[in-house]
Symmetry: C2
Subunit: 217 residues, 2 copies
């Protein structure tokens, strides 16, 4: 398969979301590009183009097979592969992520939590064992992971990121409110939640309260 463009990659989880809704409400054997387009707030040509890009074929006059589309998206995004991760920083946000069960559907398995003050956190967080930060390197040497989730304060984030990459971590899902640098050959996704707040602020300030198709991100 050709490498997908960024816009397509960003739409796939949304297709996935809506297709799941459709297939749950058992009237969802097939779905037309028009239906999906309406749910997504985009043009139906774009839906057909996206589905073609991941080789989901429809039938004229009938539509697309919803279940197959769902499975294909799962596969293309790699959601059907287990991804082992550690979480660093057992603050409130870290606790929320460690406890949230929904990521399991996306193949995520958090195998350990690390915190400077592990003792104060307790032996487990969201059912995951908590260890002191010092032990990260040893842990990773024995049990490598696919990526790390970073939920530390801004000040501590870059240092920890460097440490993690040095210890062989290949990817980082960063929730610290700072844009982190990653070395060549690794992947990083910075979730700057304040960007969302900035957008809301801008739109409120503009008095631009009209909702458009782009409200989903």
């Amino acid at each position: 398969m050709k490498r997908l463009s960024r816009p397509v990659i960003e739409r796939l989880p949304r297709y996935y979301h809506y297709l799941r809704e459709l297939t749950n409400s058992h009237n969802g054997e097939t779905v037309s590009s028009h239906q999906l387009a309406e749910m997504m707030g985009i043009d139906d040509t774009l839906v057909r183009r996206d589905l073609a890009a991941i080789s989901v074929r429809g039938q004229p006059k009938v539509g697309y097979p919803a279940g197959e589309a769902l499975r294909t998206i799962r596969h293309v995004l790699g959601l059907d592969e287990r991804k082992r991760a550690i979480l660093v920083g057992a603050g409130r946000l870290g606790g929320a992520i460690a406890s949230y069960r929904g990521f399991g559907d996306f193949g995520l398995e958090i195998v350990a939590v690390f915190d400077r003050a592990a003792g104060q956190v307790g032996p487990e967080l969201g059912g995951v064992p908590v260890h002191p930060t010092e032990g990260i390197e040893d842990f990773l040497a024995e049990r490598p992971v696919d990526f790390a989730i970073l939920t530390l304060p801004a000040e501590a984030a870059q240092v920890m990121a460097d440490r993690l990459f040095a210890a062989g971590v290949r990817g980082l899902w960063n929730f610290a409110p700072v844009a982190l640098e990653a070395p060549e050959g690794t992947i990083i996704r910075n979730e700057l939640l304040s960007s969302g707040l900035a957008e809301i602020s801008y739109r409120l300030a503009q008095g631009n309260l009209l909702r458009d198709a782009e409200d989903f991100s």
Copy 2:
């Protein structure tokens, strides 16, 4: 000022972030488009274009005034205006957001937290008073807010969103893992955290570990 395009709006918080770093490390009186471009991982022409769009003028041979650029972005994004919000859903994620102080720099003031089981949460969360959900309408009638932050489970989210909009809320910052519908004339931003996970999953699956300028979102 002309209405800004979505890509520009998404870059402004990042400029803001880097400009703040620069001005903190006191060698930051002026900054060149080249410097900013490097930090952002984008072309320097784009930086000049963006700054021009918000009427920040530079001086040939010198660069752009960092402090002024910072203030202008604050103003354009409306970060210098106080935004009053309520937070609905005092789970772990809600607690993390209510407790996080950094949003204050963006003008956010969370004035109340609501939860179905307010009694179990306690009288305060992150220093904000906690009330039972039943009281939302009365509260908003007396003390209107600019928007609401939603940190509920997926099942409860749409019903609560409808309730909030009916009670006159004009904007919604939604962290529930579901894309919510908003009525005409209101704004909504859905933070689907699982989209970030999907992207990481895809990139790991592709073995595409090369970091590019797009790693920031």
